[in-house]
């Protein structure tokens, strides 16, 4: 398939990570009583952002090389 799935996955998790982390930064601290006082939005947002960025880098960097390699394999 012509679309490297890592690109949309990376994009989506980057966006979700940014939303969560951004909300964790600027939003009210009071809601974190539920989550044992941890600002889970901020921390998990950062993790998702890192994952998304990693997928995005892999997806964009290797999509060309991979297409080439697959053609050779067939």
């Amino acid at each position: 398939m012509g679309l490297d799935i890592r690109t949309p996955i990376g994009l989506m998790f980057s966006v979700l990570g940014l939303i969560l982390a951004g909300f964790g930064l600027i939003g009210s601290r009071e809601i974190y009583g539920k989550s044992l006082g941890i600002n889970v939005n901020l921390w998990w947002g950062i993790v998702l952002l890192a994952f998304g960025a990693m997928m995005l880098v892999f997806g964009l960097r290797t999509s060309k090389a991979q297409a080439e390699a697959e053609r050779v394999e067939h």
């Binding site: 398939m1 012509g2 679309l3 799935i5 949309p8 996955i9 994009l11 989506m12 998790f13 966006v15 979700l16 939303i19 969560l20 909300f23 964790g24 939003g27 809601i31 974190y32 539920k34 989550s35 044992l36 941890i38 889970v40 939005n41 998990w44 998702l48 994952f51 991979q66 697959e70 394999e73 067939h74």
Partner: protein, 597 residues
């Protein structure tokens, strides 16, 4: 439930990507092979994640957490012995025939190996089954959205009655799944399953982390629960000494062999994912790659159930949980509320006068308990995503079997490829329409749904015997396979009709032909029904095959083990070789079983 703008945003972002993937794939979907087989062009790791994700519907996620809350870590048997060995077997031994033969579906393999009637039987029962499964998934999702009051506020704001939420949920999920499969076919379903896989991990990992941290880690969890909850094998010697009510033999043969191999090795829903791989070795690696996350999934989906039941102080949570299930917290245990009798509004009681717990709410209650707005949106989105991928898996399997095995075989044999591509899209539309009907049927006739699922279980139980003999014994004949399948199904029905779990009443639970044996639990009865069905099919197939004429060897090349060249993998790096990967998977599974003995 109080969802805020941020939660809705997260949900919308996900749906935009789901539909976006469908749109992006549309231009690559030019032939029926693209639509039904994803062009056989997908890398192994993507197929592997889709393979496990297609099975990870919400019934699985919610059901496994429920089972974790009910039975404890013994639920992991459904993974470590109820999936892993079968996944290794299908990858190492069976995939060469599925992928290597010209078959485009599992029923088509039966046609090539046996005959038209065996294929017809399998194709038709499978098609009916997928439509109903997808409908039941849709129904469960709409029900959950209703119970959690997810859309109540926006609906109230728009002046719509709460009952509209159910219809809206059904239509929304049907429309989204329809859109992305219609556009991109199997590739679209597979890509979205991968997306959903990561979303489930992202949504549930913080849940397990927070829950364990709250209880003081694994040791803290153990301290709150009876010891049978945290051991998977201790007590399995006899049905009386473990929470499942099954003895080790029934568990290993029934679940670990018949049911598990029957599902993972013959169900086109999962096998279709592997058949989309870009070459033979990738197809064989698909179930093996899937086995790695599958092995650790118990920690993601079963642990939340254990945590939910172990939380010591339910009153402390009532303020939070009260938003989901109003004020009934006292009758429950931990975070698990009691089932409420709809007539009286009181908790339902069992024969001993104890409240009946609604274990299915374990995951939703955990989400509400630990997640603040923001992360809550992510968790709910993960849950919705898993419902949809459960539906999508059924729909893609249905449209393929319908188009290739029913339409092309019996209705319109020699049409153009473009016509079959069109038919696949139409099949998607009416498959989903039928699922919607099934979902509404489930609201009216709950018993019919239970009965259908029972019948499906009878039909599925003997299947693996047919495939095992078909692939590994070239003497097996089409007549043998067909008669074996039918008698296996009859044996399952007969066994169910003659036995009853202790304490159950005659009817849907069994005993409708008179009860000659009683099982310690419903699970034990199910496992033994499967064992009887499988054994009957196995023996009858052999006997009939001995008396009927086998096909000549020349027609069976590529379809039977002894007449097929072994796929060569010496040129692959060690971590790419199916046999090596399979051995690693099995070794890790053994270690996990020992750790949680």
């Amino acid at each position: 439930m109080n969802l805020t703008f941020i939660d809705w945003t997260i949900m919308v972002v996900y749906f935009v990507f789901v539909l976006g993937i469908g749109l992006a794939l549309k231009r690559y979907t030019k032939s029926s092979k693209d639509f039904f087989e994803a062009g056989r062009s997908i890398p192994a790791w993507i197929c592997g994640l889709a393979f496990i994700s297609a099975n990870l519907g919400a019934q699985e996620v919610i059901g496994m957490a429920a089972s974790g809350a009910k039975y404890g870590i013994a639920t992991s048997h459904f993974y470590w012995i109820g999936a892993i060995p079968a996944m290794v077997f299908v990858g190492v031994f069976m995939m060469p025939f599925y992928y290597g033969s010209r078959a485009r579906s599992v029923p088509e393999y039966l046609r090539l190996r046996f005959d038209e009637k065996t294929r017809g039987l399998n194709a038709i029962s499978f098609a009916v089954m997928t439509v109903f499964s997808s409908g039941i998934s849709m129904y469960a999702m709409a029900k959950l959205i209703q119970i959690l009051h997810i859309f109540d506020r926006p609906f109230a704001a728009m002046g719509l009655p709460p009952s509209a939420v159910f219809h809206f949920s059904i239509i929304l999920s049907a429309a989204i799944v329809l859109a992305y499969i219609f556009l991109g076919g199997l590739a679209s379903a597979i890509y979205n399953e991968v997306l959903q896989f990561f979303l489930i991990v992202a949504g549930f990992l913080p849940l397990v982390y927070l829950g364990l941290k709250n209880l003081g880690g694994w040791d803290g969890l153990k301290a709150q629960l009876p010891s049978s909850y945290t051991h998977s094998w201790a007590g399995m010697g006899s049905a009386q000494t473990n929470p499942l009510g099954v003895e080790a033999f029934g568990l290993i043969m029934g679940l670990g062999f018949v049911l598990s191999f029957g599902y993972w090795c013959t169900d086109f829903l999962v096998v279709q994912r592997a058949m989309a791989a870009h070459n033979m070795s990738a197809a064989r690696r698909t179930p093996l790659i899937a086995a790695f996350p599958k092995m650790v999934f118990p920690f993601l989906v079963i642990l939340p159930g254990l945590i939910a039941i172990a939380l010591p102080n339910p009153t402390q949570t009532a303020a939070v949980a009260g938003t989901a299930v109003v004020g009934e917290q006292q009758a429950g245990k931990g975070l698990i509320p009691a089932k409420i009798d709809e007539q009286t509004g009181q908790p339902r009681l069992d024969a001993q006068g104890k409240p009946v717990l609604d274990y299915d709410l374990a995951i939703p209650q955990m989400l509400l308990h630990y997640f603040p707005t923001g992360l809550l949106g992510l968790g709910l989105t993960a849950l919705l995503a898993s419902f949809m991928s459960g539906m999508a898996g059924n729909v893609t399997a249905f449209n393929t079997v319908w188009t290739y095995d029913i339409y092309q075989s019996y209705i319109n044999k020699n049409a153009s490829d473009a016509h079959y591509l069109w038919m696949g899209r139409m099949a998607t539309v009416f498959g989903i329409a039928l699922s919607v009907l099934a979902a509404y049927a489930a609201t009216r006739f709950n018993n019919i749904m239970d009965m259908l699922q029972l019948v499906f279980a009878f039909v599925n139980a003997p299947l693996f015997a047919t495939f095992l003999l078909g692939m590994f014994w070239k003497r097996t004949t089409g007549h043998g396979a067909f008669v074996g399948l039918v008698s296996g199904t009859l044996a399952a029905a007969l066994h169910h009709g003659l036995t009853l779990p202790i304490g159950a009443s005659v009817g849907i639970k069994g005993g409708w032909l008179g009860s000659i044996h009683s099982y310690p639990s419903e699970m034990a009865q199910n496992f033994w029904t499967a064992i009887w069905a499988w054994s009957t099919c196995f023996v009858v197939t052999i006997i009939i095959s001995m008396f009927t004429r086998p096909r000549p060897d020349s027609e069976l090349r590529g379809l039977v083990y002894s007449l097929t060249e072994r796929p060569r993998d010496e040129h692959l790096a060690w971590y790419m070789r199916p046999a090596t990967l399979g051995a690693i998977v099995l070794a890790v599974a053994v270690v996990l079983n020992i750790i949680f003995w």
